[in-house]
Amino acid sequence: MVATSFAHWLPLWLPQLETLMKRILPFIIILAVLGVTLGSAWYLTRPIPSSSTAVGSQQPAPPASSSPTSGSRSSGAQAPTPQPVANRGVPGAEPAHVLGPATAPAHIEEFGDFECPPCGMFHPILEQMHKEFGDRLRITFREFPLVPTHKHALAAASAAEAAGMQGKFWEMHALLYEHQKEWKTQFDVRPIFEGYAQQIGIDVERFKRDRASDTVSQRIFLDGKRGHSLGVQGTPTVFLNGREVPFQSLMAAEQLRVLIQREIDSAAKQK
């Protein structure tokens, strides 16, 4: 009975149903596309658990015996041979450029390029972390000049290394990043870097000789080799206690602070 009445009414409803569907269909498609777009965006940007981004396994803090003076700014030529920061990959240039004591529970190893804009943006964030965490954070800088993408990256890395040979790596490092926008567009950066050398009070003639030396080239090569062995493909790439920090966490001080604090807390619990 019901089936008969439905069959009777259906032909009358069909044109109206078709019109209704035609009116509604674009909105259904629009909603479907919106759903797929938002779903894809959420899926692709969802936070990945830190264990899956690990490059090396969690390593304990290096022994206290090799610690330099607390909070000291140590640099290539002056620092005692530090322990390697990450426990995987080939060693980089030794002694490395380090800030903070070897006993620090949190270790940051940065692979950077002085001409890379995001490295320049990361520089004040790392400075802030250094100030906030003091002796609880150790920072190691590794050269990773992206040649030939950045035409002055190698010259800048050489300048920093040459300053390091006179114990002023971090001073040159800071100047290079702080004035990155000024020198990166210049044709010849050598006189600018010589000006920086003068500004930080090192022997400019020796600086000029050192930056062209094999020692400096070898140090840059060794740092790059270490970076490649750890799978570094871009800059800045940062390892925190041997694990790679997702890039988005580097650009936000609050996120990086949480990650560093977590490492410090975890080291305190282990004691």
């Binding site: 629009i30 777009t37 940007t45 390029d113 804009p117 995001p118 950045h150 890039f247």
Partner: protein, 143 residues
């Protein structure tokens, strides 16, 4: 009838633009493209100050614009007249913004991002489509 197909083609083009802008947004948010790599171009462009407007990634604004174009073009294809009317100024605005972004890449940043250029090409095709739709509309009126 012909105009319907032009709007349908515009909707498909907008979907391509949406996919491109969505990819760039994801790259920006996760930092993949912003990081400097040995391949020049995208990292330079996407890490520049022009890649963000009032704290919002430009790619995200582009994705919203492409989604709007897709919605309006689809509605226009289904006979919603007002959608066709709104589509024209939106595409013209997007085209002008694309021209400005090409200028920035060429003369200010000094690097080109292929995904940004693809987006500009899509916008150019959308402009052609919307102008064609207008022309067809006029010829339909005169007949």
């Amino acid at each position: 009838m012909k105009r319907t197909w032009v709007y349908a083609a515009a909707a498909l083009l907008a979907l391509l633009g949406l996919a491109d802008a969505l990819y760039l947004t994801v790259e920006h948010v996760t930092g993949q493209s912003v990081q400097c790599t040995i391949i020049a171009g995208c990292s330079e462009v996407l890490s520049s100050s022009y890649a963000v407007v009032a704290g919002i990634p430009l790619a995200m604004i582009g994705a919203a614009a492409y989604f709007s174009v897709f919605s309006l073009a689809l509605l226009a294809a289904f006979g919603y007249r007002i959608a066709g009317t709104l589509l024209t100024p939106l595409i013209i605005a997007m085209f002008l913004v694309s021209l400005w972004l090409i200028y920035l890449q060429a003369f200010v940043i000094g690097a080109f991002c292929q995904f940004c250029l693809f987006s500009a090409a899509i916008t150019f095709c959308l402009l052609i489509a919307v102008l064609l739709a207008h022309r067809l509309h006029r010829s339909e009126k005169s007949v």
